[in-house]
């Protein structure tokens, strides 16, 4: 393990409320997620204006649509993804990350959330590759095109949007919660052991993904409407609107009481 820079949570009452929940009821991941979203509300609102996040999501729409073209590699090259000697899902997902990083270099105001957006893009695609029983390593670009092609329809694109925002939400919650979680493991805390903290982390991630289920229909409706209008070339401005309202929906969803 190399050098690691760790942050802390401030001692404001909203953040102390998150800390208290981690001590007394970490099993209630819904409450932890809600309290975290409330304490980080301003940052989450700003995230809606984050250009690197928008760019990451926009790339997802373009790569998906590119799978409709038999000249998949050429369309990808137009997006700035240079042809490589042995293209595969692995290389494409790695290259997409490089594109996002190049973008974020021009937009430093994104801060660490640029990295979370990049990782959400990778997760949405690598999970899709896995779900479709395709190997990241041994498959060709044509295999990937075949797998992504159904996701260029409205209904299936909603699934991709759900995966993207589910992972983004999980990472965002952990970005804050993990500043304190270790301090709430062992001793008199509810989380007694490392196994407990691993379970909590996985439960929080699962809850975030379940919260993002609302994105499936919303993403499908949006894609159906705007992709048709734009003939597959959704402009970044439209992606920006979608990302902003998606995040608003997720924040609201986190605040809802248990049905």
């Amino acid at each position: 393990m190399g050098h690691v820079r760790l942050g802390r949570l401030p001692k404001t009452s909203r953040w102390r409320s998150v800390v208290g929940l981690l001590s007394i009821a970490p099993g209630d991941v819904r409450a932890v997620a809600e309290a975290t979203a409330e304490a980080a509300e301003m940052r989450l609102r700003l995230l809606a204006l984050d250009t690197t996040l928008v760019y990451s999501f926009w790339l997802l729409t373009r790569v998906t649509w590119a799978s409709r073209s038999p000249a998949f590699a050429t369309v990808l090259a137009d997006l700035g993804l240079e042809p490589v000697d042995t293209p595969s899902p692995l290389t494409l997902i790695a290259q997409l990350g490089e594109r996002v990083r190049a973008w974020s270099r021009e937009h430093p105001e994104s801060g660490p959330f640029a990295e979370l957006a990049l990782l959400a893009l990778r997760r949405a695609l690598s999970e899709t590759v896995g779900q479709e029983n395709l190997s990241l390593f041994g498959s060709s670009l044509e295999d990937l095109r075949r797998v992504l092609r159904p996701y260029s329809t409205a209904a299936r694109f909603g699934t991709l949007a759900k995966r993207f925002f589910g992972d983004l939400l999980a990472r965002t919650l952990r970005f804050f919660v993990d500043r304190e979680l270790s301090n709430r493991v062992g001793g008199p805390n509810t989380l007694q052991t490392i196994t407990d903290s691993v379970k909590f982390t996985e439960a929080l991630e699962l809850y975030a993904r379940q919260t993002a289920v609302i994105m499936e229909q919303y993403g499908a409706d949006w894609y159906s409407k705007y992709n048709w209008q734009a003939r597959g070339e959704i402009p970044q401005e439209e992606a920006r609107r979608f990302v902003a309202y998606s995040l608003a929906k997720l924040r609201s969803e986190l605040r809802q009481p248990e049905p």
């Binding site: 050098h3 942050g7 001590s23 809606a48 430093p108 062992g186 924040r251």
Partner: protein, 696 residues
């Protein structure tokens, strides 16, 4: 443009920013000098005293000076500290103005782009450069050119004095018949002294090579650095090796770190990007080598010979070549300054934790015993904060890797894609090697925990293992719990003491600040198994109300009492009318959030439409409340007060949980907060309430 973004213009060695650059809205403008009467940086390369230093190849000298100024600027500009949970100041935009001798090389767009890309990956910052013509005399760095007196080395090995660089030196000489020149970045005399001592021992252990050792001083001259993360150091160290290699007409630079450190997968979810250092990350070295190919007239390549090995596998080099006695002379600790020579490791920083696991896995504990560490993390308590987070996160990450199937590691740990390097050969085999490396590391951590568990089982049984030590975090139920106060095991006290409350429960006491929620709780604890309306609680703690309000409250309570009778006294919100209210609340919340977003996006027309919809829904909500209570006049007041009381109680329980987790858990499980609030302890708890404020 973010208000917290640091944008710094740094003019180096007397360079002046071009007018267009200078006109940009910089938040900081600063000058850095390594020459002249009052330099900010000490930049000097060691030489033999009797050898005249020569001017290094211009582009290599330029590279080293650029790297030194980058390092200097990095330390000048704060990233905002660790108290902002959003890390808004982490990334910075920095423009460096530097005079260079080989201006024709550095002025090229492709070179500047590669330079920026390489530094961005290492630091997360956005770097821009304005190069100007530098004078060959004034802006060059003299360097040794004494290949013969260095015993004719065939490669440069960057030597930090840590265990990994030692093992790289041992392997290079003993296994690969190489002749490395050891080269160190020197930043403090303390580190310099033990690096020299280690080299002396190395020469004795492996007499077949003389191990020539040189260093380069790059350090701030005065005062504490404003920023201590120093992520640009990776670029400085790589540049130093490359510049010296070019000067000595060598082509290989070895920059060694075990593969797990090299990848440095984020320890936990709060660490993003370069917050986990990338000093020898495959992507960083790939970008750096591309830069070298673009600027150097001869091929020089920086590689990490240990990229596919775990720490334990690297350390086994010492055993394989019969020199484990060198291990005690190495230093890994990032907080070593000020520690006694007999105990040179703190034992709790990320490097120390990783070193101990590696040493134990490699079976080398006889050469690196716990007594060499200020704290034995396996048995002593890790205090909350940095130490606990490092220890707990290290184990948690290893366990998560261990539980993840090998072919799902890239999906779960997306940072691994950065090690793929699509434009290079052998992608698939390298990716598989990365997966296997992580799995071996996780398995090794598990084996060490089992080993320590067996070794310390007697201490565990005797209660001599702290509950928040690494071993305690593995099985907390076996280790001893020490009550914070004696004689309080059965007491349950809720006592007001001035502006604080003293809370005693199950043998532990805690103090919390006075707040409304704590006082509401006092009322509930004083009347267990009794339902109290939120309005009653509200009125008990809010004095000086107008008589009209009091009448309203009574009316609301009467309405509530009737409601209770109708619903069988459950206190639960589950009638059709109440479900309708919840649906409306949900719609209003979603619409309100969307309205905020529309305003954030500047979509005023849409925001106005949403505002109209909100107004309509709000009116429907008031109507629904009135319908529920049978009284229009009370509904608004009821809405406000119910929200205030429930929020205060929930917030108080969480804050109590922070100070006294057991009590927090108890309250969370036994206090019900709804239209009617109540406390249902199981088993019963007799609270001694002392509610009148007394001095602490």
């Amino acid at each position: 443009m973010s208000e917290t973004l640091t944008r710094a213009l740094i003019e180096c060695d007397g360079a002046t920013a071009p007018p267009a650059l200078a006109r940009e809205p910089w938040t900081i403008r600063h000058a850095l000098r390594a020459h002249g009467t009052s330099p900010d940086l000490n930049l000097r390369i060691d030489s033999l005293s009797d050898v005249v230093q020569t001017i290094v190849v211009p582009v290599a000298s330029d590279l080293l000076r650029i790297a030194a100024y980058t390092y200097g600027a990095d330390q000048e500009l704060s990233r905002g500290g660790d108290r902002d949970p959003t890390d808004a100041g982490w990334r910075r935009e920095i423009a460096l103005c530097v005079p260079v001798v080989a201006l024709d090389v550095w002025a090229r767009d492709d070179v500047q782009d590669l330079l920026g890309e390489t530094l961005h990956f290492a630091t997360d910052d956005t770097w821009r450069f304005a190069f100007s013509h530098g004078d060959a005399e004034a802006h060059s760095l003299p360097m040794f050119n004494e290949r013969e007196q260095l015993y004719d080395p065939d490669c440069v090995l960057m030597f930090s004095g840590g265990a990994d660089s030692l093992c790289a030196a041992v392997r290079a000489v003993a296994a690969d018949d190489a002749r490395p020149l050891l080269l160190s970045h020197r930043s403090a005399t303390y580190f310099d002294a033990w690096q020299r001592q280690l080299v002396e021992q190395l020469r004795r252990a492996l007499p077949q090579w003389r191990f020539p050792h040189r260093g380069c001083w790059v350090q701030r001259r005065d005062g504490e650095a404003r920023e201590r993360t120093r992520r640009s150091r990776a670029f400085l160290v790589a540049s130093l090796g490359a510049a010296v290699a070019l000067q000595l007409e060598l082509t290989r630079v070895l920059l060694a770190d075990n593969g797990v450190v090299s990848l440095n997968v984020s320890l936990n979810g709060s660490v993003a990007g370069a917050q986990a250092s990338r000093s020898t990350h495959p992507q960083f070295l790939h970008l750096f080598n591309r830069l070298l190919r673009a600027i150097f007239p001869a091929p020089v390549r920086v590689t990490n010979p240990q990229w596919a090995q775990t720490r334990a596998e690297v350390l086994s080099t010492l055993t394989a070549h019969h020199c484990p006695e060198l291990l005690p002379y190495t230093r890994s600790c990032s907080r070593a300054h000020g520690l006694p020579p007999s105990q040179p490791h703190c034992g709790t920083c990320s490097q120390c934790i990783d070193r101990r696991f590696g040493v134990l896995a490699a079976g080398l504990e006889a050469h690196d015993p716990p007594s060499g560490y200020a704290k034995d993390a396996f048995r002593e308590a890790l205090p909350p904060g940095y130490d606990r987070t490092i220890g707990e996160s290290y184990l948690r990450l290893a366990q998560r890797i261990d539980e993840t199937p090998e072919d799902h590691l890239f999906e779960k740990f997306g940072q691994l894609f950065d090690a793929v390097l699509p434009s290079e050969e052998g992608i698939v085999s390298r990716s598989h090697a990365v997966q296997k490396l992580l799995k071996r590391h996780a398995a090794s951590v598990g084996q060490v925990m089992q080993k320590m568990n067996a070794q310390l089982s007697g201490a565990l049984w005797a209660g001599a293992i702290a509950r928040t030590s690494l071993l305690g975090l593995l099985h907390n139920h076996m280790v001893a719990a020490t009550p914070s106060s004696v004689g309080m095991e059965d007491a349950a006290i809720w006592q007001r003491m001035g502006s604080q409350w003293r809370l005693v429960f199950r043998g532990h006491e805690a103090y919390v600040q006075d707040r409304l929620g704590v006082r509401y709780l006092a009322h509930l604890l004083g009347a267990p198994n009794t339902e109290i309306s939120v309005l009653d609680l509200f009125n008990r703690e809010r004095g000086g109300r107008k008589p009209a309000d009091a009448l309203s409250d009574i009316a609301v309570q009467q309405a509530m009492a009737e409601k209770q009778m109708r619903s069988g006294g459950s206190g639960e919100l589950d009638t059709p009318k109440e479900r309708a209210i919840r649906r409306l609340l949900r719609q209003i919340d979603a619409l309100r959030t969307e309205h905020e977003t529309a305003l954030d996006l500047g979509e005023t027309n849409y925001a106005s439409t949403l505002a109209d919809q909100l107004e309509t829904l709000d009116a429907r909500l008031s109507g629904a409340y009135a319908d529920l209570l049978g009284n229009n006049r009370l509904s608004d007041q009821f809405k406000r007060q119910r929200q205030a009381v429930t929020k205060a109680i929930r917030s108080a329980i969480r804050l109590i949980g922070e100070a006294h987790p057991q009590l927090g858990r108890h309250l969370h499980a036994s206090v019900r907060v709804a239209l009617l609030c109540s406390y249902w302890p199981d088993p019963p708890v007799h609270w001694e309430l002392r509610l009148s404020p007394s001095a602490a």
